[in-house]
Assembly symmetry: C2
């Protein structure tokens, strides 16, 4: 790196996020030393963003920094864990100061919002790639797994999936002539997703299973169904679709994107019907809308209905949509 | 990935390393859930290996898997921590089954040797890059920092630094016509470094400061000196140099490589002189040689002496060697 690895770390990453009293030793030694609360368990997730695969070349580095942490906080949220620390492995072709400043700014703002301290990392030269490890704390016995759904449970999703996929298409110039306000709102949903950390914490004693929606709602529900050895049946007409998304691509395409778009970082979860009101209340108090979109049944896989007809959805997304 | 991310994880990475009872939830959910012993602290390190930067193109993927874990275990060793878990972020241009099998084999063998379980990860498509996060456990109050060296302490190093740098040069065909047995031994030291985990654990109540030697002994001692606000003085004639290295490059160049070569993954540490015998005994019982190479003094930086004359070493390595 042109400015030197140590100067780079000092300038951009040494005090990133918040200062936490449980960091016995942070950035600057061979490894970080961290103190968990007595009786708490550690929750750990890692995700990589590769330029051209997970974000377009020329994407605002502030967004890349934000998303590198957001996608991992979303994984912790899906376990009902409270985020605490992160480690950053950043690979760059060269140490571009304005890129680094914006990247650190995006990562740091989200870290502060969720009480996370950056405690370690590595900077290397190579193609622009970001790998972030997020560490969180799980207090008490509850943990939200993918595997707890039972026949009869309702299926819920937070927020309005599909927005981010459309936002990415707008960023890439693949969707033209959209209302500017809607375009801006959808782009933001791709560039600055809000990991549902508080919702995950609120769900711990209510949900029976939970997964974060990162690869498309239908595909992620398929994983939840498989882990739970159940089937999930959802109705296209119950999918929450944002006004902006419907305005830009129309309702049919909006529902396709809600089911298979990806990059949403919402939570999909299951719970017995008699907890639905409590769930909605808690989600509302966390500022997130949740919607019941179907139910868990005996069987396997994901069944998607539209106007009473079963339509085909593969784990990878849509094969066909009979809208 | 051609064979699909989930099949890839199932086939190569689901049961990698050892099965640990403290893994409440491993590979297969949104994040891993891990149980620390009561009162223990968590130690976390991350390092990235980029093709062409940290290993040559065409390098045996078994070695890449080994080194990805080894470089991180070396960081944990330098803290006196016991390795427990790891997370793997693997980026590959395409899912090559023979590469994946060899990579997983190299990583798995070292993980089993040190009692490590792979508990999570991410696989993405892109230029061959490996980021591994190692998590370990620190029991008791002791932690080996870089910052504890005091004037009067002796300076020690384990093993024979310089071998790995020569091994890399042999792998790359930059050193020709070497005795085949020596060449093989030196190549192995680059391809399959032995992280000094047991030595790190043994040093916890003896050493005053410790760092892992990854960027070259002189440069890493400079970091230790800086963190400790002291100077380190070493004598070139005290450097441990392997017979193989001296045979291949001669004694003068061997000492240069021992001081500035890099990729050694040995430990450099300091301790009061009256603990030297105890240190050597413990190291010997762990099967590692340690050698006193100098002492800590008031001042700053690293002073290297040869036959009574001070020679110049910059933090980045050699500027000049008056051999």
């Amino acid at each position: 790196m042109a400015i030197g690895e140590f100067e780079l770390i000092d300038r951009y990453f040494r005090a990133l996020g918040i200062a936490r009293p449980d960091v016995a030793l942070g950035v600057g030694d061979d490894a970080a030393v961290l103190e968990l609360p007595a009786g708490a368990r550690l929750v750990a997730a890692v995700d990589t963003l590769v330029e051209d695969m997970h974000f377009p070349r020329g994407c605002d580095p502030r967004s890349v920094g934000h998303r590198a942490l957001a996608v991992n906080l979303s994984d912790l949220a899906a376990m009902g864990a409270r985020p605490a620390w992160c480690l950053l492995a950043l690979t760059l072709p060269h140490a571009d100061p304005s890129l680094l400043a914006a990247f650190a700014d995006g990562l740091g703002a989200l870290a502060r919002r969720h009480g996370v301290a950056l405690v370690g990392g590595d900077t290397t030269r190579g193609p622009f790639t970001v790998t972030l490890t997020a560490l969180g704390v799980l207090e008490g016995a509850e943990v939200l797994r993918r595997s707890g759904a039972r026949p009869g449970d309702l299926v819920f999703v937070s927020g309005t999936p599909g927005d981010a996929a459309c936002g990415l298409a707008i960023c890439q110039g693949r969707v033209a002539a959209v209302p500017p306000d809607d375009a801006r709102a959808l782009r933001e949903r791709f560039l600055y997703p809000s990991p549902r950390v508080e919702l995950g914490l609120a769900l711990r004693d209510l949900a029976t299973a939970c997964i974060d929606v990162s690869d498309g709602l239908a595909g992620d529900l398929h994983k939840l169904a498989e882990a739970s050895a159940c089937a999930v049946e959802i109705d296209v007409e119950d999918l929450p679709v944002s006004d902006a998304l419907a305005a830009v691509v129309g309702l049919v395409r909006a529902r396709e994107l809600a089911l298979a778009g990806g990059d949403d970082y919402e939570l999909a979860f299951t719970a017995p019907a008699d907890r639905a009101d409590a769930l909605r209340d808690r989600a509302q108090s966390e500022g997130v809308a949740v919607r019941a979109i179907g139910r868990v049944t005996a069987g396997s896989g994901v069944v998607v209905r539209h106007a009473g007809t079963v339509i085909q959805v593969s784990p990878a997304g849509f094969d066909h949509f009979a809208g």
